[in-house]
């Protein structure tokens, strides 16, 4: 807990990103989505990334995890547990992805494979990374579904995605990232597509993951309220650049950048008590 009092890298540094640039080749020429980003995450922290659509917050983490679309490319370094994810080989990246690093996407409605049962979409991760047998992997899947507080009674393991609600699907996305005991989870706008009640349930799960299981979380959102509720430190991005970087409390009470001040002024008064 000590390290979170200050905005510094400590000896439990998990992810260290330096000089990250992300480009895209489009029919209108080459555009730069992320400009010289520098950030880090320590073990057990929750880092919030806030910014508007198009600020580059998602692409930053897509590039680190190798999930950029085919017309995108990046340079820089992203050291995770001693390996530079950006220059690592495809095979090496795949060792981390799904195991030590989990990714939760913005739109749960379309993020699950329609023709596969939930059980298999979970167990295939454990079968692949940890060499479990099918039954062992399914057992672990049920355990993980408990962590994300999905009711056991519904026999989710044999259901198909279209039979579930948005909130349930998002929990399954979280379950997917938990299957092989990750150390870092990147959550991209995890609650944007959900209603307010479900939103707070999901955020509670994230807090539990951080507190009970010591998992570092990157929470990307355009909603400052969400960030305020969950993050220890926060980064503000605008037009591909990081404009503010500090402890959440500091940034909220004493913002240094103009854009940050503007963002904060947009919060409706009845939220400000936080």
């Amino acid at each position: 807990m000590q390290s979170i009092q200050k905005n510094i890298k400590n000896k439990d540094l998990l992810l260290d990103v330096n000089n990250l640039n992300v480009y895209f080749d489009t029919t209108d020429g080459r555009i730069q989505a992320v400009k010289n980003a520098n950030l880090f995450i320590n073990k057990g922290e929750c880092l919030g990334i806030v910014g508007e659509s198009g600020s580059g917050k998602t692409q930053t983490f897509f590039s680190i995890t190798g999930l950029l679309s085919s017309n995108g490319y990046c340079n820089g370094s992203a050291i995770f547990k001693g390996f530079d994810l950006i220059s690592a080989s495809e095979n090496k990246k795949r060792e981390f992805l799904g195991k030590s690093i989990g990714f939760i996407f913005q739109d749960p409605m379309t993020s699950l494979t329609p023709h596969m049962k939930i059980g298999e979409q979970l167990s295939e991760i454990a079968t692949f990374h940890d060499n479990l047998s099918k039954s062992e992997a399914l057992k672990r899947a049920s355990d993980v579904l408990e962590i994300v507080k999905l009711p056991k009674s519904r026999n989710l393991v044999n259901s198909y995605p279209h039979e579930l609600s948005g909130g349930m699907k998002q929990r399954i996305m979280i379950a997917i990232s938990l299957m092989c005991s990750p150390e870092l989870i990147i959550a991209d706008e995890p609650t944007t597509a959900l209603d307010v009640t479900t939103q707070s349930e999901i955020l509670n799960i994230f807090n539990d993951l951080r507190n009970d299981m010591d998992i570092s979380i990157v929470l990307i959102s355009h909603n400052i309220g969400v960030i305020a509720e969950t993050s220890d430190r926060v980064i503000v991005m605008k037009d591909g650049k990081i404009v503010e970087n500090g402890l959440t409390y500091d940034v909220l009470t004493d913002p240094k950048d103009e854009y940050t001040k503007h963002l904060l002024s947009c919060i409706p008064p009845w939220l400000e008590g936080r």
């Binding site: 981390f96 992805l97 990714f103 494979t113 991760i125």
Partner: protein
């Protein structure tokens, strides 16, 4: 099999049967109003055929009764006597042509589906590489060169100039005689299917759930096998019936050019000689086959896509 499946099939049959009836009625009406046909007065027929027709069609009975008798006969496979071939019934002619057309048709559909799908998937995965361009180039040829241009050219090239393959004749179903006709018949369908598959696979590869699969760190070959293929093959299943229709159409040409004594050839001869009963009979046969295919397609689609309400 889920019990709902039976209800599903029944529901589909309820629409299919009236359609078949409409098509049969179409054939029936065409025969009745055709000038020079068996049911107009301008006949100048040899007495044997005249007699056959009078018997077979009960021309003294009211027309709706004739229609019911016609359908009753159809359901036992009796299409009536041929209008031009004095000693044969339509059924006999069809049966003699069936092995040829069936061999040709089945081989072509299987080859088209498999080859087309595989080429399409490869083109999609290796998008914008030379693989992709080659496959798309070949498919362009298949689309722009109609079968009646392609078949003679193939025949000329491989048959005449290179002397590798026979250019015509059935020869009892000898494999060598089948090669050129099957290629000429399948090529347009392979072209269309490979394009469809490519477009569908590209769309699936760019979808959110494949992104999720990638984020699990799974191997590409595994993702393609378990996540991509089943999702991208759906449009091809939809295309099964029109593809078969295309093959039926194409077989008419191909049988003509390669001198194969199949149903298609009888159909053409019948059309040119105005053998109305033969022509109607073949049309009804094809239509029934296709309606069965549509049913199979519906069942396949329900099986492959759990979202379809059964």
């Amino acid at each position: 099999m889920r019990i709902n499946m039976i209800k599903f099939i029944t529901k589909r049959l309820i629409i299919a049967i009236p359609t078949l009836l409409i098509i049969i009625a179409f054939g029936f009406i065409m025969m009745r109003i055709a000038p020079g046909g068996p049911f107009t007065n301008e006949r100048a027929l040899p007495p044997e055929i005249e007699r056959n027709i009078q018997e077979a069609y009960n021309l003294n009975k009211p027309i709706y009764e004739q229609f019911f008798i016609y359908i009753k006969n159809l359901s036992v496979g009796d299409f009536g006597p041929s209008f031009k071939y004095k000693d044969f019934t339509v059924k006999e002619l069809i049966i003699s042509g069936l092995p040829v057309s069936a061999t040709l048709g089945l081989s072509s559909i299987i080859i088209s589906l498999f080859l087309g799908s595989i080429l399409g998937i490869i083109a999609a995965i290796k998008k914008n590489t030379y693989f992709d361009y080659t496959i798309m180039g070949v498919s362009l040829v298949g689309i722009c060169v109609p079968s009646f241009v392609m078949a003679p050219i193939l025949s000329l090239f491989f048959g005449l100039y290179l002397g590798l393959l026979p250019t015509s004749g059935w020869n009892g179903g000898n494999v060598l005689n089948l090669i050129l006709p099957i290629i000429a018949l399948s090529l347009p369908q392979i072209a269309v299917i490979s394009r469809m598959m490519r477009a569908s696979t590209i769309e699936v590869l760019n979808s959110n759930f494949i992104r999720t699969a990638k984020s699990k760190g799974l191997k590409s070959s595994y993702i393609i096998r378990k996540h991509v293929i089943r999702a991208s093959i759906l449009p091809i299943i939809e295309y099964l019936a029109p593809a078969s229709a295309g093959l039926m159409t194409g077989s008419i040409i191909v049988e003509q050019i390669f001198g194969l004594p199949g149903i298609g050839r009888y159909f053409v001869v019948g059309a040119l000689q105005r053998d109305y009963t033969l022509v109607s009979g073949v049309m009804i046969l094809y239509a029934s086959l296709l309606i069965i295919l549509i049913l199979i397609t519906d069942i396949l689609r329900a099986y492959l896509d759990p979202r379809v309400k059964v």
